[in-house]
Symmetry: C2
Subunit: 249 residues, 2 copies
Amino acid sequence: MRVLIVFCHPEPHSFNGALKATAVAHLEGQGHAVEVSDLYAEGFDPLEGPGHYSRRADPTTFSALTEQRRAHEAGELPAEVAREIARLERAELIILQFPLWWHAQPAMLKGWFDRVMVYGGLYSGSRRYDRGRLRGKRAFCSVTTGSPAPAFTRQGRGGEMASLLWPIHRSLAYLGLAVLPPFVVYGVQGGGLHYEQEAIFRERLEAEKVAWRERLDRLETLSPIPFAGWDDWDEQGILRPEHPLAWRP
Amino acid sequence: MRVLIVFCHPEPHSFNGALKATAVAHLEGQGHAVEVSDLYAEGFDPLEGPGHYSRRADPTTFSALTEQRRAHEAGELPAEVAREIARLERAELIILQFPLWWHAQPAMLKGWFDRVMVYGGLYSGSRRYDRGRLRGKRAFCSVTTGSPAPAFTRQGRGGEMASLLWPIHRSLAYLGLAVLPPFVVYGVQGGGLHYEQEAIFRERLEAEKVAWRERLDRLETLSPIPFAGWDDWDEQGILRPEHPLAWRP
């Protein structure tokens, strides 16, 4: 299996960094081919904007979709965008490794979506959802949080984890990916502590490494999160009334 | 009233740019003081990371929270972060103006949260939610989407708008802000067209400008989105069983 890990953390010695290294070692040890997009280390620019397009479909007014499509069709996508698309195309499984910052992925990973998932290339009006360009591949999030698990339950003050990850899961499904359930490590605290060195955190980390390897071992047993698709929607993109999950107030 | 508009779009002549300009003119015309954080034009850096901290609490391992707190306490926050905090402190009303990209705010605006909302400064473990530092102020999102409105209804393929904005609304409430309902313009299409110049879009834009001014005129009539607070939660941060909205499966 060919695996792409999109790693989003500014500190290699962080808890997230340790989980990334654990996944690389474990998956490679099983004979899988692992590639890593280390967004911070590679200096990925997460800001979509006119500076990335030296030639323009419309030189006067910048629109991301218009310029993405033109650059894709002309074979002139920015080099780091083309690199990430090539990585996605090689991969059969994509793992997004990131900390939850402000109830979402960090800006770096958000910008990876904004820039890499180019209109006309990775999706179009007719190639989305279950007709998406990346269908046949699987993806999931591996996330750490600062607050402990109870805060992210249905009635918890942080908000249910499924609701916080919904915009990301929806985006993955939009591309045609099968979205596996997330792996979440709650309550990762400790500020600037080096997780491999500080004894009180090393114990926690070692336990989570075991859980992480175990999760990686049983990916084949996990069912993707169900999403509706084109056959389920009417012409406006709303669930058909006869759909078993349709509900009208 | 002192208003801060956080404007997040790379193109000043975009639909978002027109809505921003409309709000500035309309609010100033009514005698309000309006300040604009023009994130793209001001070159805001949305990436939290070690490069922003020349002095460090922990020089070997970077943790955002640890370095944010130290820099805040030492009065050494990065200049653009200190500037944004001063703008927030001056404002009574905060408007976030952005396009929905990949089911969320663009990376630029996400990074504004990641970097500006500094730990130890704008929040701490005990100063969050209804005890948050920014309580007494109001905030809301003004958003444009590419897909038309039906896609963002409860059973629509894009996902319900309230669920897509939930991580942002939750973050605003976390800071103590009263969150007003969003103003959403759906189905903003047209690629690189200059919205002020192209006749077919100018008509749509003019109609939305009217709706936008009308919304700005009746902010006082809008109730904030209800959020739970410290009195509603048990020691784990879960709604108390006696809370009217509590529900146990």
